[in-house]
């Protein structure tokens, strides 16, 4: 018996804008998960690590970072001389079309301003000289150097500016592991980097914080206490910090696919008219700083994982001609589907495209896992975007849409080099939203498919992988 043909009408939600920031924190690399463990086991490594940290100027002029904040197009990255960490961009600016780079002193000031529980203190002279100009929010707790040192001797984490001890981050509880200094620093770093991005996008769009009525955070931390280690709702803390007095919030967690789910959830709130203007935000992952630092040291490279990546996108009802999310294209990877890359590509690309009456070759641009290969290749982790693009191209071959010898063309036309820092959630498709919107607005592309994946098996609750995808296009005029 044949089913009646249903004409699917496009369901669009408007993306008003997105901002991206990179917070450069070389002196927090030591607190990334891998460095923290390795430095505890081999303290001498700390001295070597210190010689390989970049300064703010070098981080700003790093080509992938300039792509991230919108000053260089992803398509142009391949033409730039390598290695990018040596061939810095002349005249690179801290501000970009989509956002900015934040230096460490400013970040320390933001930490102080967002700290409501007396967790962080700074040395008075240093703060006044280097950070006070960036102070917002709560007044900083200022101490003498001797007092800071005493806190560190008792177990607080030292906050450094190069070799100089300038602050201390304390635990909130002596016994609760969820309130240990490392955990709270991770959480607060996520909070302030997300808040910074949210402030920026509001400014870019000439919106007031009060114009937001819901915030979704898809950051990578776990906010909680020992009775609920991942209780969360960092979103609301971020909303408060930015002054979104009319907004509440909630967190969306799905490993690296979190941001894509968060966009779908946010768009659904708009579509159902539960909210009028939703901010989807993510702060950076402190835990992932220096994740591959050993391979960078071994290859005499600077430690490239020295930045926290954050973003903030604003969603609302679609306007004529606006770049939109096609909510009707949202696709997931069901439990029963199976684990192979082929099945993932079918669930996240082929099937949702077919629903729209499209083939894989009808997509102008794909945004996939866009990790910077300069970071991942030296550690043996390969070129992640390329593998993802090859998978899509291979599926197109299997479906007879292209020939095997056209796979490289497919990648060249519809893909790009990775440029995102290995922050987990940030590289997973969402990093490309800014450039995607740009290309769609200019009419250079008609559509873009964003595909993110999540490695749920890392949490030891399931062996499954996961993913989330949706299409972007322009609303009719």
């Amino acid at each position: 018996m044949s089913e009646p043909q249903e004409k699917f009408l496009p369901v669009r939600v408007g993306i008003e804008g997105v901002s991206y920031s990179l917070t450069h924190v070389p002196d927090l690399v030591r607190y990334g998960s891998k460095p923290l463990r390795e430095l505890r086991a081999r303290p001498a490594l700390g001295a070597e690590l210190a010689t390989r940290l970049r300064d703010f100027r070098a981080a700003t002029a790093y080509a992938p970072h300039q792509v991230y904040i919108g000053n260089i197009a992803p398509a142009d990255l391949g033409n730039l001389p390598k290695p990018w960490y040596e061939r810095l961009i002349e005249g690179a600016t801290v501000e970009g079309r989509f956002g900015d780079l934040v230096d460490q002193s400013k970040f320390y000031a933001l930490l102080a301003g967002a700290d409501q529980f007396d967790l962080v203190s700074f040395e008075s002279d240093w703060f006044r000289e280097h950070a006070a100009t960036h102070s917002i929010g709560r007044a900083p707790r200022l101490r003498s150097l001797a007092e800071i040192q005493a806190l560190c001797d008792k177990g607080a984490l030292g906050l450094y500016d190069g070799a100089r001890l300038v602050g201390a981050f304390e635990a909130a509880h002596e016994e609760d592991a969820s309130l240990a200094a490392e955990v709270l620093l991770e959480n607060l770093a996520g909070k302030v980097s997300a808040a910074h991005s949210l402030r920026l996008v509001l400014k870019q769009l000439a919106l007031a914080p009060a114009d937001i009525d819901f915030v979704i955070s898809c950051s990578e931390e776990a906010v909680g206490d020992r009775y609920n280690r991942g209780g969360g709702n960092l979103a609301k803390a971020i909303a408060e910090d930015v002054g979104c007095v009319n907004a509440s919030g909630s967190d969306t967690k799905a490993f690296c696919a979190g941001p894509m789910y968060a966009m779908v959830h946010g768009a659904s709130l708009i579509q159902s008219r539960v909210a009028k203007r939703v901010a989807v935000v993510a702060g950076g992952s402190l835990a992932k700083l220096g994740m591959k630092f050993e391979s960078h040291l071994k290859n005499k490279m600077p430690v490239l994982e020295d930045v926290l990546g954050s973003f903030a996108a604003i969603l609302s009802a679609p306007q004529p001609g606006q770049v939109c999310m096609r909510l009707d294209s949202a696709a997931f990877h069901p439990v029963g589907a199976g684990a192979s890359p082929q099945i993932m590509a079918e669930c996240l690309a082929e099937k949702p495209l077919a629903k729209l009456g499209m083939k894989l070759t009808d997509v102008d641009r794909y945004g996939v896992e866009l990790h910077n290969p300069e970071i991942t290749v030296p550690s043996g982790s390969g070129d992640v975007p390329r593998t993802n693009y090859l998978t899509l191209a291979a599926l197109a071959v299997m479906r007879g849409q292209i020939q095997k010898n056209q796979m490289e063309d497919f990648i060249r036309a519809r893909g790009m080099l990775g440029y995102a820092p290995t922050q987990g959630h940030i590289p997973s498709a969402i990093v490309y939203l800014g450039h995607a919107m740009d290309a769609l607005q200019r009419g250079a592309t008609r559509n873009t498919l964003l595909i993110a994946k999540g490695s749920l098996f890392l949490g030891r609750m399931t062996q499954l992988s996961d993913g989330c995808s949706f299409m972007l296009d322009r609303n009719e005029e």
């Binding site: 390795e38 050993e294 192979s340 890359p341 082929q342 590509a345 290749v377 550690s379 043996g380 982790s381 390969g382 070129d383 593998t387 090859l390 998978t391 191209a393 291979a394 599926l395 071959v397 299997m398 095997k404 796979m407």
Partner: protein
Amino acid sequence: MNFENQGVIKRLADQYGPENLTVILGNGEANGVEVFAETVTQGDPSYAGPLAGVALKIPVYHVLENEVMTELPEKLRDEKLQLSSLVIDVEPMHQVLEASREKI
């Protein structure tokens, strides 16, 4: 290879005897395969994991190498590995892994 998996392989080698085991990899590219192979044959080359200094001499294959593919029923190969065969360039991996197996 992550330390947890190194630990499991060490435990399994104790349990079954390394001569009764074979490791089959699914790496997406050659970059990194050599280190994996060395880890379970000669020992963790970074000297940091549970297999540091432990030479198990377990032969390592990639699932897409001929030696493995010819063992698999055609239907299963087509269903599960066809796309991966198009994506993954096995040749450089095969060279690295064959050299590693010969060293055993």
